[in-house]
Structures are given as structure tokens and as C-alpha cells.
């Protein structure tokens, strides 16, 4: 298996929205190589005809009674926000200046 490069890790970090430093990327590339080498052992198991298990409980369409209950409320919902204004979450700009 090809080694994980620092560029690979940088791409994954972008996907995961983590602004890693160059040092972090280098360290992680080396560690991921070792970890992936170890976990790739699952590929030794002959399992072509085996169905996957995503969950140990075989449940589907679980509902609870549709009874109205009081909600959290805006004031409490934003109480722990890093920034709030008029009972709303205040966030940094989400569009480019030019957009």
C-alpha cells in the first residue's frame, strides 16, 4: 500500500475542517501510515459474501408518540453560544466578499 503523504493528510484535514499546522500534518502522516497498516488487517478476512453490520440492534422506523412538549426556547438555546444577538446565533460571514 502506498504511503500516506503529507498532502493526503492536508486534503483530509481540509475535508474535516481542521486547520492543522505543517508540524501536525507531518506527524500525522507518519502515524496514519502505521495505523492504517495495522487496521488494514481486516482485509485478510475472506468476507465477500458476508453482509455488513452497521449496528448491533436491528431496528428500523422507531417512533415515539407525537405529543407536543415544551421546547428549549430561543433564550436558553443561544445561552451557550460563542456570540448571539436578538436570540439568534451570530456567526462569521458565510459568503465571500465578492459573492
Amino acid at each position: 500500500m502506498s504511503a500516506i503523504t503529507r498532502e493526503d493528510v492536508a486534503h483530509l484535514a481540509r475535508l474535516a475542517r481542521i486547520a492543522m499546522t505543517d508540524d501536525e500534518l507531518d506527524a500525522l502522516a507518519a502515524q496514519l501510515d502505521v495505523i492504517l497498516g495495522a487496521v488494514a488487517r481486516v482485509q485478510e478476512v475472506a468476507a465477500a459474501d458476508i453482509p455488513p453490520t452497521s449496528h448491533s440492534l436491528d431496528l428500523a422506523n422507531v417512533f415515539r408518540p407525537d405529543e407536543p412538549v415544551p421546547s428549549l426556547g430561543a433564550a436558553l438555546a443561544v445561552a451557550a453560544a460563542p456570540a448571539a444577538e436578538h436570540d439568534r446565533f451570530r456567526v462569521p460571514r458565510i459568503l465571500d466578499e465578492e459573492a
Binding site: V9, L12, A80, P82
Partner: protein, 489 residues
């Protein structure tokens, strides 16, 4: 030491109910113990003195009664508590005060349990030593240079050092059982779905399960019954009664039971003292009237690699919620940076190395082109592991193994070697992948003088079997007295 500290939860509840001692006195004795020793152990991240004493007064006023009313408890900081800070061991949640209670917190309050505070853990429950806590490691009361295990090392260390008679942990790959094993305490992971996950901060949702920590098997069973049972707020909660775990712990009789020793979990890599205590425990089970046979579970050899694909994959998705927008840490919001830049800067500053490692690993395993070879294949191995359990339980009632390959390791020894750290969960992971219950209880000391854990694994929804076996071993070995051999703090 104040005798109230050495008492079991069962004894304390009886004394409180009989008005021999007040719940406030019991709570205060434990708060004093925390003040006295926790500087050394660092089991707690937050002590809720006012909340604990207020709840104790409610018990003393006769507002609440029950088998654990007035008993103090150490709560892992991954369980949300209304009005009480909850961090999951992460800087990204430092200072967060949840607006709601987890279901198990509501149930414990209603049962009169006195939550003393929130205990230390590896960040988002990812680790086996508490060294990945953003707030520094906890220490093993048996030897302060060693880890109390993880991720729930704080709760187990608190229970082992008499700061609380019982605690709550959560177990995704062994985070209740491995700390119990290395601190000489009892820890049980219920059947997946047996205890509500509502208000349990998610790491790997198909594996996470909360459960009891205690110094005796009966105390663990009593707490299991309080927190267990169906919860409509958790769609993966089992709609059935809690298995009769307290009755089983009191029964403590294994005559006629069939015990399977897992072939895969012994031999190379296991400390000789761990294997010796394990073999003695198996011999005791035979002496008590159980039949013992060896059972091979060939796919257990692949449980660790499958787990380290499945859990990080789920984590990479679950932890996407820490986006710096609605709660928790926000860094780099200078009025110029975009939301995406703030998000990425916050996640870099707020997550520790292990959490980042697992998010990146999970992101990789779920990527197009790698999905089938990694995550998809791990899910198939998960099926095969469940089939191993199913065939084993056609022959035997429970499976047993050492809980961990070694006793407590030294702080710093594995923190820079992720694969060495992951090996601590070798024997505990299969039950999480299968969804069945498993329990660890102390079964003596290894050659290094440190506690060894015996793991008992049972079929899905047959939690009572593991309590029955554990209580019998505990009575025969006197392992509820093992902590008396720990050096004083």
C-alpha cells in the same frame, strides 16, 4: 479514614434509610475526601458541592427513597448535566453549561443518587489512559505514577480511592471495563441499547453505552437497574425491561452454568501474572460447580482493527457538530475571517492530538475509493464477530477472558505510540462490536502488585448472567476486599 467512605453503596443506602446517618453527612464525608486526596488522583474535573448537598437534603427530608437514595456518585464528564459544566475532557467544550439533563441523570436524581461531580476522561472518550484529557491525566490510586485506565479513568479512580462508592462510565471499546480492571474495581457495560444514550456526548453511536462503576458487583447491579430501561428519547433504546441484574448479583450461584474460555485471549502479549490470576478464577468457577470449556472465536483477532476503522469513522461524523457556531469554543473570529476559516481554526485549537488523529483516520476510511476496503470490510468483520459470539453462546452461557493483557501502565509510556495504546482494549472491543453485555471484576494482584481484571461476557439482553458469575467469583475470592491492599494515599 472515615468508615462512611469504606462502606458499600448498599450499606450506605441502608444506613441512610434507617436514619443511622444522614445523606448530608455521607455527602460531606465524600466531599471532604475529595478535598483531601483529589489533588493527588485528579479524578474530578468539577465538584458540584452545592448540588450534591441540596440533593442529599432532599433525601434526608424524605422526598426520595429507594435502594440507592443518598448514595454519592462520580459522573463521567461525557454525560450532560443541566447547569453543571460538561466538557467531555475537551478544550472545545471548556466552560459549556448544558441546558438539559441526560436521561440517566434524570433517573439518578429521581432515585435519590447524589452526584458529587464530573470526572476526568480521555477527550471525547478516545483513549485508554486519561492522558488524552485536555485537563491533564488522572492517576491510579494503586500507584500514582500509573494510569487508572481510560477513557473513564476518572470515575474508576474516584471509586478506587474512596472518593465515591459508585460511578458512571461509558464504554465504546472498553472505557468502563479497562479502567475497572487496572484500578481493582467493578465496571459493567450493559447490552447496547439497555441504557439510554440521550445526553451521552456521542463518540461512536453504534458502540457507545453507559454503565456502572462500583467496588462490589451488587452495587454495580443496583446502579444498572436505576439507569437502565427503555427511553423514548433514544431511538436505539431497547423496549424491554431491564434484565434482573440485582437478583442475579444476590444469587451469586454458578452451579450448572457453562463457562467458555476464549482461546484467542491468552498467550503471547499477556502478562504472566494476569494469566495466572485468570487461570485461578477459572479454576474457582469449576470448583463452584460450573463446567468450563475452551471456545475459539477466530474473528476476535480482527476485532481491534475493525474497531479502529468503525469507531473513528463514526467519530469523524459525530464530531462535525463542533463547528464554533452554536456552543463551545470559537477562535479567530476577527470580523474578517469566514465562518469556514473560524470553524477550521477552532477545531485545530479545540481538539487534542488523539481526537484529530481519529477524525482524520475516519475521514480517510469513509472516503470514496477507500470505503469498501476499510469501513465496508470492517462492517463485514463486525458481522463475523457477532456470529462468533452467537456460536459460542450455543455451547456456553458466558465467555470469560482477562479484561486487559497487562496491569496499569506507566503514565507517558504509550501516549506517543497510538497502536500500543490501542492494545489496552484488545479483549474488551468484541462485546462492543457485538452489542452484548460485559463486566470486569477484580480477581487478584499480578506479580507487580497491581490489580488484574476478569472479564465476563454474556449474550445480548442476558446481562444477569454476567452479574451472577461475577458475584460468585467475588464471594469466592473476596475480591470486594482487594482495595484494602492498596497503599494509603
Amino acid at each position: 479514614m472515615n468508615p462512611l467512605l469504606a462502606a458499600t453503596a448498599t450499606e450506605l443506602a441502608a444506613k441512610i434509610a434507617a436514619r443511622e446517618v444522614s445523606a448530608v453527612e455521607v455527602a460531606q464525608a465524600h466531599l471532604d475526601r475529595i478535598a483531601e486526596v483529589d489533588e493527588k488522583v485528579h479524578a474530578f474535573l468539577h465538584v458540584d458541592t452545592d448540588g450534591a448537598l441540596a440533593q442529599a437534603r432532599r433525601v434526608d427530608d424524605g422526598e426520595i427513597s429507594g435502594p440507592l437514595a443518598g448514595v454519592p456518585l462520580a459522573l463521567k464528564d461525557v454525560i450532560v448535566t443541566k447547569g453543571v459544566p460538561t466538557t467531555a475532557g475537551s478544550r472545545i467544550l471548556q466552560g459549556w453549561v448544558p441546558p438539559y439533563d441526560a436521561t440517566i441523570v434524570e433517573r439518578m436524581r429521581a432515585a435519590g443518587i447524589v452526584v458529587l461531580g464530573k470526572t476526568n476522561m480521555d477527550e471525547f472518550a478516545m483513549g485508554s489512559s486519561t492522558e488524552h484529557s485536555a485537563f491533564g491525566p488522572s492517576r491510579n490510586p494503586w500507584d500514582l505514577t500509573r494510569t487508572p485506565g481510560g477513557s473513564g479513568g476518572g470515575s474508576s479512580a474516584a471509586v478506587a480511592s474512596y472518593q465515591a462508592p459508585i460511578g458512571i462510565g461509558t464504554d465504546t471499546g472498553g472505557s468502563i471495563r479497562q479502567p475497572a480492571a487496572v484500578t481493582g474495581t467493578v465496571g459493567a457495560k450493559p447490552t447496547y441499547g439497555g441504557v439510554s444514550r440521550y445526553g451521552l456526548i456521542a463518540f461512536s453511536s453504534s458502540l457507545d453505552q453507559a454503565g456502572p462503576c462500583a467496588r462490589t458487583v451488587l452495587d454495580a447491579a443496583l446502579l444498572h437497574e436505576v439507569i437502565g430501561g427503555h427511553d423514548p428519547r433514544d431511538s436505539t433504546s431497547i423496549a424491554a425491561a431491564v434484565p434482573p441484574v440485582v437478583a442475579a448479583a444476590r444469587q451469586a450461584d454458578v452451579s450448572g452454568m457453562r463457562i467458555g474460555v476464549v482461546t484467542q485471549f491468552k498467550g503471547d502479549g499477556y502478562q504472566p501474572g494476569v494469566l495466572a490470576r485468570f487461570d485461578e478464577s477459572v479454576a474457582i468457577l469449576e470448583k463452584l460447580g460450573a463446567t468450563v470449556e475452551e471456545v475459539s472465536c477466530p474473528h476476535f483477532d480482527y476485532a481491534l482493527p475493525a474497531y479502529y476503522l468503525i469507531a473513528p469513522s463514526e467519530a469523524s461524523s459525530n464530531l462535525a457538530r463542533y463547528d464554533a457556531m452554536r456552543y463551545g469554543l470559537r477562535v479567530g473570529d476577527d470580523g474578517v475571517a469566514s465562518a469556514e476559516e473560524v470553524m477550521a481554526a477552532t477545531r485545530d485549537a479545540g481538539f487534542g492530538a488523539e481526537v484529530k488523529r481519529r477524525i482524520i483516520l475516519g475521514t480517510y476510511a469513509l472516503s470514496a475509493g477507500y470505503y469498501d476496503a476499510y469501513y465496508g470490510q470492517a462492517q463485514k468483520v463486525r458481522t463475523l464477530i457477532s456470529r462468533d459470539f452467537a456460536s459460542a453462546f450455543e455451547r456456553v452461557d458466558v465467555l470469560v477472558s482477562p479484561t486487559t493483557p497487562t496491569t496499569a501502565f506507566t503514565l507517558g509510556e504509550r501516549v506517543d505510540d497510538p497502536m500500543a495504546m490501542y492494545l489496552a482494549d484488545l479483549c474488551t472491543i468484541p462485546s462492543n462490536l457485538y452489542g452484548g453485555p460485559a463486566l470486569s471484576l477484580p480477581c487478584g494482584l499480578s506479580d507487580d502488585g497491581l490489580p488484574v481484571g476478569l472479564q465476563v461476557m454474556a449474550p445480548v439482553q442476558a446481562d444477569e448472567r454476567m452479574y451472577r458469575v461475577a458475584a460468585a467469583v467475588e464471594a469466592a475470592l473476596g475480591s470486594d476486599k482487594l482495595l484494602e491492599k492498596a497503599p494509603p494515599l
